[in-house]
Structure formats: structure tokens, C-alpha cells
């Protein structure tokens, strides 16, 4: 996208979210929408992350706690099932891993430079409850 200089920006500028003016936001899923370049959906904050959440599908119970508490709309959830993490928009705050209720957790924070496959292969075992 081409940035305008300070003296080229018009006062009272309007930033459209979509290319198409009649976009039905309520019924269209994010991947079907025709986002304009001025929507922050097209931007990325991936470089903010120090830790990243890794999602393990085998343990997940689709409770959607992570979806509702994610501040960055970075949990991809379709048709009542959790699909994964949108790494373009995730800032690595760790709320999703904190609110995950399963045992072991299906979302765990790891260092950004670790490989997802490698981490998934050594996922922690179920912990017994301490009495």
C-alpha cells in the first residue's frame, strides 16, 4: 500500500474497511470478505510476539473460552469448532493459554523461534490432581 505524505492527507478522510460497499458483515465469514487495504485485517502485528501460543487439536474440547477472551481476534473458530491461531494478528499475550480449561492444556505458550511440529510431538502428559 502506498502511504501518503503529511501534506497529501485530506482532512476528514474516510477509511473504508471493505472494497465492496455492500459487504454483509453479519453473514460473511472473515475469509469471504473483500477487505480493503485500509482494514487492519490486512496488517500484521506478528513481530510483537516473544512467546507464541501453540494449539494441540487432540486435547481441545472446543469450549471456545479462548475465542471469547482473545483481545486480538486471533483465534480462528468456525462452526463451533476451534481451528487454530491466526499468527498474523496474535500478539502473544497468553490469555488463551491461561483460560484453557483442559488437562493438559490444549494451548501452551512457547518461544517464538521453536517449531510447532517439534513442540507438538513433546506435548506434556495429563497431570494428576494434587490432593
Amino acid at each position: 500500500m502506498e502511504y501518503k505524505g503529511w501534506d497529501q492527507v485530506e482532512a476528514g478522510a474516510v477509511l473504508p474497511s471493505f472494497e465492496d460497499k455492500n459487504c454483509d458483515v453479519v453473514r460473511q465469514k472473515q475469509e469471504d470478505r473483500n477487505y480493503a487495504q485500509t482494514s487492519s485485517y490486512t496488517a500484521s502485528v506478528a513481530d510483537w510476539r516473544v512467546f507464541k501460543p501453540v494449539f494441540n487439536k487432540d486435547v481441545c474440547i472446543d469450549c471456545q473460552n479462548c475465542w471469547v477472551f482473545c483481545p486480538d481476534t486471533a483465534i480462528v473458530s468456525r462452526d463451533k469448532a476451534m481451528l487454530g491461531i491466526d499468527y498474523d494478528h496474535c500478539k502473544g499475550c497468553g490469555i488463551c493459554a491461561e483460560v484453557c480449561p483442559t488437562n493438559p492444556k490444549s494451548l501452551i505458550m512457547f518461544f517464538e523461534n521453536e517449531e510447532n511440529e517439534e513442540v507438538l510431538s513433546k506435548w506434556p502428559e495429563k497431570k494428576k490432581k494434587e490432593k
Binding site: 490486512t42 471456545q64 471469547v68 481476534t73 463451533k80 497468553g94
Partner: protein, 316 residues
Amino acid sequence: MSKIIKNLKQFSTSNDRFEGAHLLCPGCAHSIIVRELLNCTDDNLVIANATGCLEVCTAVYPHTSWDASWIHIGFENAATAATGAEAMYKTLKKKGRLKDPDKPVKFVAFGGDGATYDIGFQFLSGAVERGHDFTYVCLDNEVYANTGGQRSSSTPRGSSTTTTPAGKVSYGNKKYKKDIVAIMAAHGAPYVAQVAPNKWKDMVKKYQKALATEGPVFINAMSACTTEWKFPADQTIDVSDLGTDSLVFPLYEIENGSKLTITYRPKNIVPVRDYLGVQGRFKHLFKKENEHIITQMQKDVDKRWEMLQRREEAGV
């Protein structure tokens, strides 16, 4: 026409209308609160936003995070902008000049606690007094977080901020927090409520009720601030939990200026000390010479809870 949301799975099928890659801090509760409001309804929304964290972070040139009509207005007049749009909409509807007159449109104003409690208070008061059909949501993080953490009239007693720093002579902010919910209820607004992001179902219910109510609605939302309350980013929901369970932020609603209903009663009430202990801004209160502030705070919270319960029983 509000959407029916029975459980979290059903809620998660909503198509998000608040996009990611805004520049709010990691773990900020603002976006959780805003996202739920945008997702809990199918109606078109017109949003006015006062200056503050939410505004500067969601509309950084050249990007916008909003999939709804959104306008940024001065620090003080988010309520005025929303009511102005509402008045124009009503007039155009009366004159038959709307393209789609049957499609419901809701008017929402967002403001931080600085924009609501202090700077925009007169404008909010006026808008509620005029009786426009709009919803005002105050994102209450108890400090001017956007400009570096100056105290606002929402800052609780004993909190250390950049303008009321705690040290050898002072224990931080000496003034009490303004009870904005009671003030707005006293205006005779048809619906006034307090919400917290950790109780998502309670929040969605109140939002839907607010949007369905005709007339001015005020909602005070607790918004835990990782930067100014000084706790780790992943603890936002836990800190909010402690806030509601220790009754520092009781969740209740007031209808028609009088009928008070408590919507969440914690099973185990946590001492206020636990809520203060997780936040860096209250660290100094745990020194020996400041202990009396905590005792006083616990007393105030208990007294308020007692008052709320009595008011609920009496129904006045």
C-alpha cells in the same frame, strides 16, 4: 431484533466485526469488551469514539479495525456525536429519505474513564437528559492510560499513578472513586449497568438489553489495564475475576433509575487484599505504615455490597 445467544459455542459462530492487528497492548481488556458488543448483535451499528486508548489504537493511519460506521470525535463529546447521528437518522426516517428504513440501526458511544468521568461528563449528562436512543459504554481502566497514567476521578484510593506517586510521604491517590453508575441512574436513564469482561455471558446479556432498550443507556465496563495496573499480560482475566469476586466491581444493573438487580453473586467472596496484591499499582499498600488503607478499603467495599443488597431487597 437481537441475536439469540444461549452458550459460548453458539456465540463463537458470530462473524467478527472488530479486526485484529489494532495496536492496543497485548492482553488489553478494551478489545475484549468492544468485540463482544459488536458480536452480540446483527443490527447495523453507528459508533462514536472519544479520544483515548481505544481510539488511538484502532484507527492508526492508514488502517482501521472497525467493520462498522465509526467516527472519532474530541475527548469530550462522544455522547454528543452519537446523539447527533441518532437525531439525524430519526429525522431522515420521518421524511422518508432512508434507503432501507426497516433495517434497525443502533447508536453506540465508547469512551474511556477520563472521557466519561471527567472530561466528557457534562456532554454525557446532557445527552442522557435529552433522552436520545443510544448506548454509552465507558471502558473504565481507572487511569488516563493513553497519556502515561495520570489519575482520573475514577482512580481508586491508594493507587499509585504518575500524578499521585506513592513514596515516603504519600500512599498514592487520596481521593475516592466516583460512583458513576449511581450518578447515571440518578439521571433517570432507563437502563444502567456495570459489566466485567471475565463474565462474558452476563456482559452479552446486558449489552443486548442495552441495545434493545429505547432511550439512553449507560454501561460501565471494568477494563483491566496491564500497563498501568502493572500485572503480566496473560493475567487480564484472572485479575478481572478477582475484581468481581472481591466485590470491588460488583455486577449489577439499575432499571428506570430505581430498580436495582445484582446479576452476579460470587460463591466465595475473596478479600480485597488478594485483588490488590496482584497489581503493581497497589504494591506500596502492603508496607506496614499503609496497611490501614487496605483495612479501610475492605470496610468500604463491604459497606457498598451491603447497600446494594438492601437496595435490591427493597426494590427502590
